[in-house]
Symmetry: C2
Subunit: 458 residues, 2 copies
């Protein structure tokens, strides 16, 4: 019997907040179920964050790793996309408060708003040491790194000297290591023949890590390999180095001043503030403590996915990376589907399997042809160097959402890695760097004359 | 005999200001001559401006049409690139004053700093109606156009109504026509299936042109064709419409108020202010009056190229488009080379041919598969519609500087035009539009529910 509009039961309303890996995997799964879904995000695009550092370091363009959310759900007519911001909840009335003062009703809520930088209470550092979470962050980091070389060349031509090209990265997790390797690549490989007065390969990259180890989430042998591979790229690593201040042009580690033309932040993350606004228990990062169904205690209608969820498995917290977020999103969606079916008297029993993170492993790249890979599936292995990098390459191409992006990124990589040539080395926005222009006398008359190519560079 | 450093004569110094079509063609030509060249630009990239509107309308990424200037001159060791800004001249001492307070000495100066928007003294309109000259302009226009659809969808879901999607373009020259066609394309083709509550194809595009004709530089038959083709895309054209005010959310034409969710400026251009700073005669747009050698009167050592030059040929001013700029840049470089050779006692006679613009024709696209083309070479013809558009496509792919970009743009176009799918539909930056949010009551509770796909849209 055809279900007509009049006899069709009112469909359950699912609201998803956040269009990251958790939200997108939830929404595409729910698109196949008989529910009405509204996905809310401040942005109009889903970002493939594991490659964001390549946008920051000018290998890829933003459009290569971002996909409009509407395109991703185009084939699911039961899905609404709302570009808005959630600012609070009324759990009793089952409503989400939006920035536009509208309240959105839900039967099920999937919250996947991820995490943001934490400057440990020193928010004034944010302008001096940008972190890497959004497209805007990436283009800002790109601007600063490329501009540092331009300003050094200019100052060298005009005054005969320039500040040392020290790039300081605060934080030795995967993002810090990837940024460090990529800056070293840019300086040594891609820019080598572009400047006449400075020698970009003299740039120094330093990672400051507060804990005793870089890549703390990786096994010790891979941590060691990572430091070796970083050393080969000329990247220095200082562990146990607590940054006490960030200022224009330098950072302080205790009493020691370390000059920096560009300082980047890859240290702390904190969960999205929405977790705390739920009024349920959170951990010290602000992540919501969830049970084996990804529900906060007492709220079987609310699911927390991705970085915002504090989920423990086998006594260890599942890390805030892409794979668990994707799996959580799919799990939450399927469970909602099952609960809806049960409530409609269908075969859904409501007795779902509990969520379990299926760990296929984890990887971090270190420059252009090295990486560390902790492989858990389909076999267990610790790889490093070129094989790990090739694995990283294949996996990331494979997981990139959307055929168009995949092709574009592959072509871009092939071009860049084979020719050492430009990706997207555009400087947009302001032409100032915090802390620059304090050294050297800029006035005077210059007869610019290219450096003799046979003479040694600075 | 090998020339050693000691016996090598001091080389002439050429300073080029501006890395647009004029400057880049001058510098790559001079790269082969025995002179020392310094190219100064505020930007680190050369922009293929004829395709900038496609960045604005999310078909291409900025990196597709921009190339770092350093890459373009990488193989010319006699060329210096300086990311700086010229702010004045000392013609007697032959020096350029830079923003960093340094002065740059030259023997020959090539000035090619192009043009910028002119708001006819109403600079406060700039924020309300952005123009299209830089990468930042393009991403700002993209942001506004895409955001208008997002905000309309949001307002429709939340209040059941939304402001009419009127896009108003002030100015009916090639840029205005190309923007109008591209907005119409986006609305009708690429976004059609992405929204559930609004119907993007109901968007209206209006061109307001003050003069009696659109595409005034084209012959009358092509102007007529252009208006016909615009009409087919649903773009309305009002000629003789003088905009008297631009406000958030609307523009005024005399006493008439025309609502606009997005207003774009494609009306006036004025020459770069550097022309006037030279202290030589300029026309009313600020362009420098040059003689048959592209020199301002009395200054055979200074060459003005591109939009900044007011050059008349056969009683008509050569237009401010890419082709003349490229030819001027190459001409100026060759003439400098000849003058230098003459001053060194070589065979250069100094008696160069005068500059003559070789007009191959001109083209403007109108949406996805129409254009007008005034062809002057290798035969004379007036084309419109699909043949003109194909010609435009081939010529633009061919002239795109750099193999990498060419391939990328071609692939992007093929993908977009064949699949009607996304180019680079990312909204970055602020989520506010000037003049939005004045209509409708946003508070209340909404049970969002996707529109029944079978029911008519708004």
């Amino acid at each position: 019997m055809a279900v007509t509009a009049a006899t069709r039961p009112v469909r359950k309303r699912v609201v998803i907040i956040g269009g990251g890996f958790g939200g997108i995997n939830a929404v595409t799964t729910l698109g196949k179920f008989p529910v009405d879904v509204t996905l809310v995000d401040r942005r109009n695009h889903h970002l493939f964050q594991p490659l964001l550092y390549q946008v920051a370091l000018a290998v890829l363009s933003p459009a290569d790793i971002a996909q409009p959310i509407r395109s991703l759900v185009r084939n699911h007519p039961n899905v609404d996309v709302l570009m808005d911001e959630a600012i609070g909840f009324d759990l009793a009335q089952r409503r989400v408060k939006l920035k536009t003062e509208v309240e959105l009703e839900y039967d099920y809520l999937i919250l996947a708003t991820g995490s943001t930088h934490s400057y440990f209470g020193r928010d004034e550092w944010a302008k001096l040491a940008p972190g890497l979470k959004t497209v805007e962050d990436a283009t800002e980091i790109r601007r600063r790194v490329l501009l540092a070389f331009e300003l050094a060349e200019r100052q060298m031509m005009e005054t005969g000297t320039h500040p040392a090209l020290n790039f300081v990265i605060i934080g030795g997790g995967p993002t810090g290591v990837e940024l460090a390797g990529a800056i070293s690549d840019i300086a040594r490989l891609y820019m080598a023949s572009d400047f006449r007065h400075i020698d970009p390969s003299m740039a120094k990259v330093l990672i400051l890590e507060g804990s005793p180890n870089v890549l703390a989430a990786y096994p010790l042998d891979l941590q060691k390999k990572a430091i070796e591979q970083l050393a080969e790229l000329g990247v220095k690593v200082r562990t146990g180095a607590h940054v006490t201040d960030v200022q224009p042009g330098y950072v302080m580690v205790g009493e020691e001043r370390i000059d920096a033309v560009v300082t980047l932040w890859a240290a702390g993350v904190q969960a999205s503030p929405l977790g705390k606004l739920l009024g349920v228990p959170t951990d010290k990062r602000g992540a919501v403590l969830v049970d084996c169904y990804l529900n906060p205690p007492g709220h079987p209608e609310i699911f927390i996915c991705g970085d915002l969820a504090h989920f423990e498995q086998d006594g260890k917290q599942v890390p805030g990376v892409a794979q668990p977020a994707m799996q959580m999103g799919r799990y939450a969606a399927k469970r909602v589907g099952r609960l809806v079916a049960a409530s409609l008297g269908s075969d859904g029993s409501g007795k779902d399997a509990q969520f379990r993170y299926f760990d296929k492993g984890d990887m971090a790249t270190i420059g252009r042809k090295a990486a560390v890979a902790k492989i858990e599936w389909p076999f267990k292995a610790h790889w490093s160097g070129f094989p790990a990098w090739m694995t990283w390459l294949v996996v990331h191409i494979f997981f990139l959402i959307g055929f168009r992006n995949r092709l574009s990124v592959f072509r871009q990589w092939a071009w860049t890695y084979l020719t050492f040539s430009d990706g997207a080395r555009l400087i947009t926005g302001s032409q100032e760097l915090p802390g620059w222009d304090t050294q050297g006398d800029h006035s005077g008359v210059v007869t610019t004359k290219p450096l003799d190519m046979n003479s040694p560079k600075t």
